[in-house]
Amino acid sequence: MKKQNLLLAKKSLALLLVIALSITAFIGWKLSHDPVVKAPAEIEDYLFWQARELTDFKLIGGNNKTLGLNDLKGKWSFIFFGYVHCPDVCPLTMGILGQAFKLIEKDPAAYQDIQGVFISVDPKRDTPELVNEYASYFSSKFTGVTGDVAQLDAISRQMSALYTIHPKEAQDSGDNYLVTHNSTVFLVDPQGRLYGRFPPPQLPQEIAEVFMKIRTFHNERSNKRWDFF
């Protein structure tokens, strides 16, 4: 009786092994015949080698509305770090993004999918209300938010978006100080992952065209994954 049981166990084990081997072989075959989806050359430079999962953060916008990682999910988010007392580079970049959004608007489905987030790294001068008003001036797609240093660092560090405030460098005391900030536009995918970036100097056409290609690529890749399993 015991001998029979042992035989049965051996047989089952062998069967399991065969099944496991066939699955492995099938996956191997599938992978070798279905190479990793590679990003087209024209968007490769804008993408992170691997989409980076973001951890949660909390920033404050107009009407004390909070913005966290969940608010990024479900949309493509264009994120820009700046400050309101920045009369040159910030309006330039925000204007370019606003213009890019208008170009994206030609594709209503894509336009539905996007949002802009302006993060002020200068909470001393920029109230959440002011930041939001400033951001929405450039596009209705924009939300403006800020937070205290810890809150700002929680998001900026994940994007390596460094910033420095220079009260000493400023020519005048009081509120006229300068801020150094990263003027890259970061792109977060609808899964809330840091997916791509547009380094300066940017152009509206460039951002719009590259974004459309990134979105297509992203959709194709997720479809392929579904096919596979």
Binding site: H85, C86, P87, D88, P91, H166, Q171, D172, H181, P199
Partner: protein
């Protein structure tokens, strides 16, 4: 009364007209404008082109505007992807040359606006040069977003080479 007004008008015109042309001697100002911003924003930037038609370099040492508490000559500089501004004490326009102030580079930083400046408003400014010449300029507030459609806003990297402090 009519006579008085006429005299006053011609006096004002006589005073304003030569300045309003924005040309003073060798200096010529082209396309002065201010980047529009939401009403609560107190710091704006002005852009223009300064042309020096003379034989000698001209050095801009001061800019002022009755619409702002302070005006500075600033330059945005990119170090990699990091943007920062530096304050210039003066700006030299070489003989027979012109210097363009445009988004992403040289600009006048207009600080502490005394009132909101909507698109279409005029901003008077006075440019003072080292030789004592003063040039009055009227800049128009406009949205610079159309400018960005061209590629002229591409930051001039060659200029930044001189600024590795």
């Amino acid at each position: 009364m009519g006579f008085f007004l006429k005299v006053l008008f011609s006096l004002v015109l006589g005073f304003v007209a030569p300045i309003a042309s924005a040309d003073s001697g060798d200096i010529q100002i082209l396309d002065p404008w201010v980047q529009a911003a939401p009403p609560n924003v107190k710091v704006l930037a002005a852009y223009l082109e300064i042309k020096n038609n003379g034989e000698k370099p001209q050095i801009l040492v001061n800019v002022s505007s009755p619409a702002f508490d302070q005006v500075g000559i600033h330059r945005s500089v990119m170090h990699g992807n990091m943007a920062h501004m530096e304050h210039l004490k003066e700006l030299t326009i070489p003989a027979h040359a012109s210097v363009a102030l445009k988004p992403g580079g040289l600009h006048f930083m207009l600080m502490d606006a005394k009132k909101p400046l909507p698109v279409g408003d005029s901003v008077p400014m006075t440019l003072t040069f080292k030789n004592g010449d003063k040039v009055a300029v009227t800049a128009t507030v406009r949205s610079g977003q159309m400018e960005n459609m061209g590629d002229n806003q591409h930051m001039d990297h060659s200029e930044h080479m001189n600024h590795n402090h």
